[in-house]
C-alpha cells in the first residue's frame, strides 16, 4: 500500500467535499439533516485520523465533539424543531439544483487552483486538507445563498463551519482552546438561530426568510 496516511486523509477530506455536494442535492429537510449528520461524522473521522497522524491527543477531543455534538445532538434537535413547528418539508431553492451543482463544481476547481498555488511550501496532507476545506467552506456559503429556507441555511452555515474545522486540524498546531471556542460559537449561533426560528414562527407563520423581507417592506 503506497502512502496509506495520505490516501486515507485524501479519502476522508474528499468524502467531505462529496457530502457537501450531497447537501446541495437534497430537496427534503429531513434527508438534509441526515446528510448533515453524515457530514459531521466524516469530519469526525477525518479529525481523528489527523490526531493519529500528528500524534496530537487533543484533536481526539475535537473529533469527539464533532461526533457527539454535530453528528448527533444538532440533527436531532433540528429535527425536533421541524416537527414541532410543522415546517414545510420541502426545500425551496432560489436557483435550480442543476445550476447550483455546476456552480459548486466551479467553486471546487477555484478553491483548488487557489489553495494549491498558495500553499506550495506545506506538507502534502496539509495542502490537500486546506484545498478541500476551502471547497467545503465555499460550498456551505453557496448553500446559504441559494436556499430560501431558514433551516437549510442553518445547515449550510454548519457545513461551512465543518470546513473551517477541517482546515484548522489540517494546519498543525492549532490549540484546543480555539477548538472549544469554535464549538461554542457554533452552539451560540445554533441557539440564536433556534430562537430566531421560533420568533419567525410566531410572527409570520413561516420559516421562509422571504417573509422577513416582506415584513420590512423590501422587495427582492
Amino acid at each position: 500500500m503506497p502512502n496509506l496516511a495520505f490516501d486515507t486523509a485524501h479519502l476522508l477530506a474528499g468524502g467531505l467535499v462529496l457530502i457537501s455536494f450531497m447537501l446541495l442535492y437534497q430537496d427534503r429537510l429531513t434527508s438534509l439533516l441526515n446528510v448533515y449528520a453524515l457530514h459531521a461524522l466524516v469530519l469526525a473521522l477525518s479529525v481523528a485520523w489527523q490526531a493519529h497522524l500528528q500524534n496530537a491527543p487533543h484533536l481526539y477531543v475535537t473529533a469527539g465533539l464533532a461526533l457527539g455534538f454535530k453528528a448527533i445532538i444538532i440533527p436531532v434537535a433540528l429535527r425536533r424543531i421541524i416537527e414541532r413547528l410543522g415546517i414545510h418539508r420541502e426545500i425551496e431553492t432560489v436557483v435550480g439544483i442543476g445550476p447550483t451543482m455546476l456552480a459548486g463544481m466551479a467553486l471546487v476547481g477555484l478553491s483548488m487552483v487557489v489553495m494549491l498555488r498558495v500553499t506550495a511550501a506545506a506538507t502534502p496532507i496539509a495542502r490537500q486538507d486546506l484545498a478541500f476545506a476551502l471547497a467545503v467552506v465555499l460550498l456551505g456559503l453557496l448553500m446559504m445563498v441559494t436556499r430560501r429556507n431558514a433551516v437549510s441555511q442553518v445547515v449550510g452555515f454548519m457545513s461551512l463551519e465543518n470546513g473551517l474545522n477541517l482546515a484548522a486540524t489540517g494546519a498543525r498546531g492549532m490549540p484546543l482552546v480555539v477548538e472549544i471556542s469554535v464549538a461554542f460559537s457554533i452552539l451560540i449561533a445554533f441557539i440564536v438561530i433556534g430562537i430566531f426560528l421560533f420568533r419567525i414562527r410566531e410572527r409570520f407563520d413561516t420559516v421562509d426568510i422571504g417573509a422577513l423581507d416582506q415584513a420590512r417592506g423590501e422587495h427582492r
Partner: protein, 318 residues
C-alpha cells in the same frame, strides 16, 4: 499456433457473452420476483422467449422503410462487438486493443442512434416519445460516462481496458476517493443506459413513462428478438465493465493456460450473478422517477465524474 489459440479464446469469449446475456436478464427477473414474494418465471424463460420470437413471422407497419428492417441487425452487431471488447474472464484477448473504452461507449452510442431512428420510422406518437426521451437521457449519460472514463484514465494512465484492469489488479491502486466516485457514477450511468428503475421500467408497457419499450413498440418477430438480445447484451456489458474495473479478481492474463481461463470464467459467472442480484435488490427498493427528475439523477453521475477528476488532480500534484 498461438494465433489460433488466441482466435479460439476470442471466439469463445464472444459466444460466452451471447449465451450468458439472456440468463442475466432471467436472473434479475427471478430475483426481483423472489424479493416481492412471487415465484417468478424460470431462469431459462428469456431464452424461450427469444426462440419463440425467432420462429414467429414479422408484422411490419405499412410505411416502415428499409431502415426499420436493417436497424435491428446493426443495433445487435454494434452492441455485440462492444460487449466482446470488454474483458469478461480474461484480459489481453486478440482483438481487445482494437477499441478502447471511449470507442466502446461510442459503439453503444451508434446502437442507440439507430434505435432512436427506428423509433421515429413508423411515424407513431409512441415511437417519437421514446426516441426523444432516449436521446435526452443519453445526452446526460454519455458525458457522465466519459467523465468517469477521464477519472479512470487519470488513475490508470490509459483508456485501454486491459491496461486499466492490470492496474486495478496491482497493489499500486491504493485507497482513492476518485475511484469510489467513479464507481458510483458508473453505476448510475449503467442504470440509466439500461433503462432500469428508477430511470425507466423494463417491465412496463402502455404507459406514458416508458422510454425504451416505446421505441421498440412496432417491432415483432425476429427483429424484436434481436433487439431484446441486444439490450440483454448491453446489460451484461455494463455489469462486466463494472466487474472488470472494480472487482478484477480472477481475471486470466494475456497468455494464461486453460486452468486460469476456467477459473476466470467461473469467477466471471459468479460476478455476473452477484451483479444481477444486487441490481434486483436496488430496483425493488426504489421507485421510478418522473421523466424530468431523471436529468438531476444522471446529473449527479456527471458531477461525480468531474469531482473525481478534480480530486485526482489534488492527489497527483505531489
Amino acid at each position: 499456433m498461438a494465433l489460433i489459440r488466441d482466435l479460439i479464446v476470442q471466439f469463445f469469449e464472444m459466444s460466452l457473452v451471447l449465451v450468458l446475456a439472456p440468463g442475466l436478464v432471467g436472473l434479475v427477473r427471478k430475483a426481483k420476483a423472489r424479493l416481492t414474494r412471487r415465484r417468478g418465471a424460470s431462469l431459462l424463460q428469456p431464452y424461450r422467449d427469444l426462440l419463440r420470437l425467432l420462429r414467429k413471422e414479422v408484422v411490419l407497419a405499412e410505411n416502415a422503410s428499409w431502415l426499420f428492417r436493417v436497424a435491428p441487425y446493426l443495433i445487435f452487431a454494434t452492441t455485440w462487438v462492444a460487449a466482446a471488447l470488454v474483458p469478461t474472464f480474461a484480459t489481453g484477448l486478440l482483438f481487445s486493443w482494437s477499441a478502447d473504452l471511449i470507442a466502446v461507449i461510442a459503439l453503444l452510442a451508434s446502437a442507440r442512434f439507430f434505435l432512436a431512428l427506428a423509433g421515429m420510422d413508423v411515424g407513431t406518437s409512441f415511437g417519437g416519445i421514446g426516441s426523444s426521451r432516449e436521446v435526452m437521457i443519453a445526452s446526460l449519460a454519455e458525458p457522465a460516462m466519459l467523465t468517469t472514463v477521464f477519472t479512470l484514465a487519470l488513475v490508470a494512465g490509459s483508456t485501454q481496458l486491459s491496461t486499466i484492469v492490470a492496474f486495478m489488479n496491482s497493489p499500486a491502486v491504493g485507497l482513492s476517493v476518485s475511484l469510489g466516485l467513479a464507481l458510483f457514477a458508473l453505476i448510475i450511468v449503467a442504470i440509466a443506459e439500461n433503462a432500469r428503475i428508477p430511470v425507466d421500467n423494463p417491465a412496463t408497457h402502455l404507459e406514458l413513462t416508458m422510454v425504451h419499450e416505446a421505441m421498440v413498440l412496432e417491432y415483432s418477430g425476429r427483429h424484436l428478438a434481436l433487439i431484446e438480445l441486444a439490450s440483454a447484451l448491453k446489460l451484461l456489458l455494463y455489469v462486466s465493465l463494472i466487474a472488470c474495473i472494480f472487482a478484477p479478481w480472477g481475471l486470466a492474463g494475456a497468455q494464461a493456460d486453460a486452468i486460469a481461463l476456467l477459473i476466470g470464467a467461473g469467477a466471471y459467472v459468479g460476478k455476473l450473478a452477484v451483479g444481477g442480484v444486487l441490481l434486483a435488490v436496488f430496483e425493488t427498493a426504489i421507485a421510478k422517477m418522473r421523466v424530468f427528475r431523471v436529468p438531476q439523477f444522471i446529473g449527479v453521475a456527471l458531477m461525480l465524474g468531474l469531482l473525481g477528476t478534480l480530486l485526482r488532480f489534488v492527489s497527483r500534484s505531489f
